[in-house]
């Protein structure tokens, strides 16, 4: 019993610790040479994941590694590197894990194209359903009955009419 409790304390403590890492705004005071660079910095830091945190981008995290990575990105922007070069630099060191924007390759084609395939398939099914129900049901039926069947139908209708009137007189009592 005690061991279970201490496991939970540890987990709770870890949770508290990890939540605390996200608790305050990570604000750096970097200068940029123009608005374009500032926008690119924002984009990159929002689309790259902090390798250590509980699902945060490096813009919002104040883990030491996130601060280091923001500094690196700022430095590389200053050196005139392109967005792709910066992302590749980090992926080479931390793996695809740091990209919140998953690459489009053989491993991820289901991720990127799956929903569209599903939508297309669904539209196909929708089209089939609509086309099949297009003919209003009532139109063809009566004409398709043979004389024999029509006679049977009349008989059945007469019987049920008699039945329901009998019911009515019963219920009124």
């Amino acid at each position: 019993m005690k061991r279970l409790l201490s496991k939970r304390w540890l987990a709770g403590g870890l949770l508290g610790l990890t939540l605390s890492l996200g608790a305050h705004a990570a604000i750096d005071t970097y200068e940029f040479k123009d608005e374009g660079d500032r926008a690119r910095y924002r984009l990159l830091t929002e689309e790259l994941r902090c390798p250590k945190c509980q699902n945060q981008n490096i813009a919002d995290s104040d883990a030491p590694i996130a601060m280091d990575l923001r500094r690196e990105i700022h430095r590389m922007l200053g050196e005139g590197k392109s967005n792709d070069e910066i992302v590749d630099f980090l992926v080479a060191r931390y793996g695809d894990f740091v990209r919140y924007n998953p690459p489009v390759n053989a491993r991820t084609w289901l991720l990127w194209y799956g929903p569209w395939l599903l939508l297309g398939g669904g539209l196909g099914v929708l089209a089939l359903i609509v086309l099949r129900r297009r003919r209003p049901a009532a139109s063809g039926q009566a004409a398709d009955l043979s004389a024999e069947e029509r006679a049977r139908l009349d008989q059945l209708l007469k019987n049920s009419a008699g039945q329901s009137s009998a019911d009515h007189t019963k219920a009124d009592k």
Binding site: R8, S20, G22, H24, A25
Partner: protein
């Protein structure tokens, strides 16, 4: 003593739930009215015991009983009383007890507000809900007992509630969310009861509908509250991160939206019965899946409760049982006989099917993105991250398609619509929407295609609704006609308006937000987006359980002061945890947002300044959708009492004594 009573009450509630889950169901199968009649009292008893149990836990918090482990982990004597109250559901065990309590509450509500239901149906519905209660109560008692004691060495004081949770948001967001999650269990129970009874018809759809709408509305409001809370609490102005826990709440909402539209078709036209039942099963299954994802540690998230594989296994088994058996029942008992009801291409049936398709694809996409890293890891060991760039790239186009269909959907008629008439209705709407779209894209700032598209679509949705309103009141005249329209209709109009408002908020705030991170010394001023922010330094301040540096920032526009903001940097003593409180000037057309970073030399601070246009529209739109839902659920037709004679004539038994 009281925690032990609470524990006992939970166990008694489990016993009653077990009775509720089994006997009425067997009674329904055997036609035993006494056993069926056990459902109501069992439900009432279970709710009463759960309420008592919850009150016991609350009492333990309010009197600072730190011998209870859960209280010691999540509270502190210096915590203000209203946070002690909300701390009851601040972590895993207590939030589960809240879940169970709310489930008991919904069960109670169903047992009270379902006088017109046939006895057999009600017995089955309550039984199914009882089974779910049994699952949750077992989970609570066996793995997550909130009343576990820390004896003999109980701490003198607690570890305090996480400072991020010491906020109004915790008081409202989880309860609203759980009302939604649990509420879908009602639609689920109705679906299962209908499958069991072999009676899947328009009447079933009519009974299900108000319950589903209310649950959906609660869930929507819960999601909105969570987004708003994250925005002002976390300090960086974000409001949605596509985090796994956030996705876990969005998925049932998307399917729930599809469900309430599908129920409309089944109720009115008696078609798509199997599909509607499947959606009802799916909505609640996604609620349960969400519970699993959040509490099992399978996915990484800032929101996740403490990860514990033992608990995860329990929930997974529960999930397998509930979803597996319901889908098996569906495969065996869902009607396959196609009704001979036909409808044309341009009919409400078709458009609502399209609505369902887009929503289900959107939900599938969110599920795919959320679980892809897990699947890839399990299959290949490779690590991948899927985040906002992916979700935004797919979700926004799907929503655009939905809004496009919406405009057509409100105008088309049931069964079929003359194409010429439809064209005549829609063409003016299209033209004006196009014009408004162009106007919007030019008016708000730099031109963006996304802004043009969104303004056009929002106008399209709103104007199509207006067109329909004019069409519906064309005989009586506008004023008289409006008085004659049902609450259900107004609910629909308001909810659709909500989508337009929300879409505008999302796109305008994303495209036109301005942000500056910089160093500000006392007396310095910076211009952002036409506003002048003047920093006045920070002063030390003492709160009830924290110390803080409280800054003053004056905001001027055209030389006139329009707001004074007080961003804070707090340190909560017990956990020694720092926290940012942003200073926000809320506005209908824009928010001004200031957050403090680190102190620099000479009283200067790193400061973040945001101007966020129309960000409040996001939550306003969500609230409108929720309000529309509640309004529609209050429609008179759900509350009309059916006379006894009519019921007997229809062959419905079960008149209560």
């Amino acid at each position: 003593m009281i925690p032990e009573l609470g524990h006992l009450a939970m166990i008694l509630a489990l016993c009653l739930a077990a009775v509720q889950a089994s006997l009425p169901l067997i009674g329904a199968w055997r036609g035993d009215r006494q056993w069926m009649g056990l459902a109501r009292p069992a439900a009432w008893g279970q709710f009463a015991f759960l309420l008592f149990s919850f009150l016991c836990l609350t009492q333990a918090f309010l009197v600072d009983d730190f011998s209870v482990a859960y209280v010691a982990k999540n509270s502190n004597s210096a915590l203000p009383w209203f946070y002690k109250f909300s701390a009851v559901w601040g972590a895993h065990e207590g939030s589960l007890l809240l879940w169970a309590l709310i489930l008991g509450g919904w069960t109670f509500a169903v047992s009270v507000f379902s006088r017109q239901l046939p006895e057999v149906m009600l017995a089955r519905v309550l039984s199914v809900m009882g089974m779910i209660s049994v699952g949750f109560l077992l989970f609570l008692i066996v793995t997550s007992n909130p009343f576990a004691r820390l004896l003999p060495q109980s701490p003198a004081n607690g570890r305090d509630l996480n400072p991020l949770l010491q906020d109004f948001g915790l008081i409202v967001h989880p309860p609203m969310l759980y009302m939604g999650y649990v509420g879908f269990s009602v639609a689920f129970a109705f679906a299962i009861a209908a499958l069991l009874g072999g009676r899947l018809d328009a009447a079933w759809a009519r009974w299900s509908r108000p319950w589903t709408i209310v649950a959906w509305a609660f869930l929507g409001v819960g999601i909105v509250l969570g987004s708003w809370w994250a925005y002002y609490e976390l300090g960086w102005g974000g409001w949605w991160f596509w985090d796994p826990v956030e996705n876990a709440s969005l998925m049932p909402w998307l399917v729930g939206t599809a469900l309430l539209h599908s129920l409309a078709v089944t109720e009115k036209r008696g078609v798509f019965k199997s599909w509607t039942v499947l959606l009802a099963i799916a909505a609640f299954s996604l609620s349960l899946l969400g519970t699993f994802l959040v509490r099992s540690g399978v996915l990484t998230s800032v929101h996740a409760f403490a990860a514990d594989p033992e608990r995860g296994t329990f929930i997974l088994i529960f999930l397998l049982f509930v979803v597996g058996s319901s889908l098996t029942l569906f495969a065996l008992r869902a009607p396959v006989v196609k009704s001979s009801v036909g409808f044309g291409l341009w009919s409400r049936e078709t458009l609502l099917l399209a609505n369902n398709l887009v929503l289900v694809v959107a939900c599938a996409m969110v599920l795919l993105g959320t679980l892809y890293p897990l699947v890839l890891d399990a299959l290949t060991g490779a690590k991948l991250s899927v985040g906002p760039p992916y979700f935004n790239a797919l979700f926004l186009p799907l929503m655009a398609i939905l809004m496009l269909a919406l405009g057509v959907g409100v105008l088309v008629r049931w069964k079929d619509t003359p194409l010429k008439w439809l064209r005549g209705m829609l063409l003016p709407v299209l033209v004006v929407s196009g014009a408004l779209g162009l106007l919007g894209a030019w008016l708000f700032g730099d031109f963006h295609w996304a802004v043009l598209a969104t303004c056009l679509l929002a106008a399209w949705v709103v104007l199509a609704g207006v067109r329909d309103l004019l069409d519906k009141t064309r005989h009586k005249g506008l004023l008289k006609g409006i008085a004659g329209l049902s609450r259900s209709y107004w609910g629909m109009q308001i909810a659709h308006l909500g989508i337009a408002v929300c879409a505008l908020g999302v796109v305008l705030s994303s495209q036109y937000a301005l942000e500056r991170d910089l160093r500000m010394a006392p007396g310095e001023s910076v211009e952002v987006g036409g506003y002048q922010f003047v920093f006045d330094g920070a002063k030390h301040h003492q709160g009830p359980n924290y110390t803080s540096d409280r800054a003053t920032v004056h905001v001027l526009q055209d030389g006139r002061e329009i707001a004074v903001l007080h961003p804070e940097k707090r340190v909560y003593q017990v956990r020694a945890m720092p926290m940012t409180e942003a200073g926000i000037d809320p506005g209908f057309t824009r928010d001004l947002y200031v957050a403090l970073g680190e102190p620099l030399e000479d009283g200067a601070w790193a400061v973040r300044l945001h101007v966020k246009p129309f960000v409040r529209w996001i939550w306003l739109g969500g609230l409108l959708m929720g309000f529309g839902g509640f309004l529609a659920a209050l429609d008179r037709r759900y509350r009309v009492k059916v006379t006894t004679k009519a019921r007997e004539a229809l062959g419905l038994t079960g008149v209560q004594a």
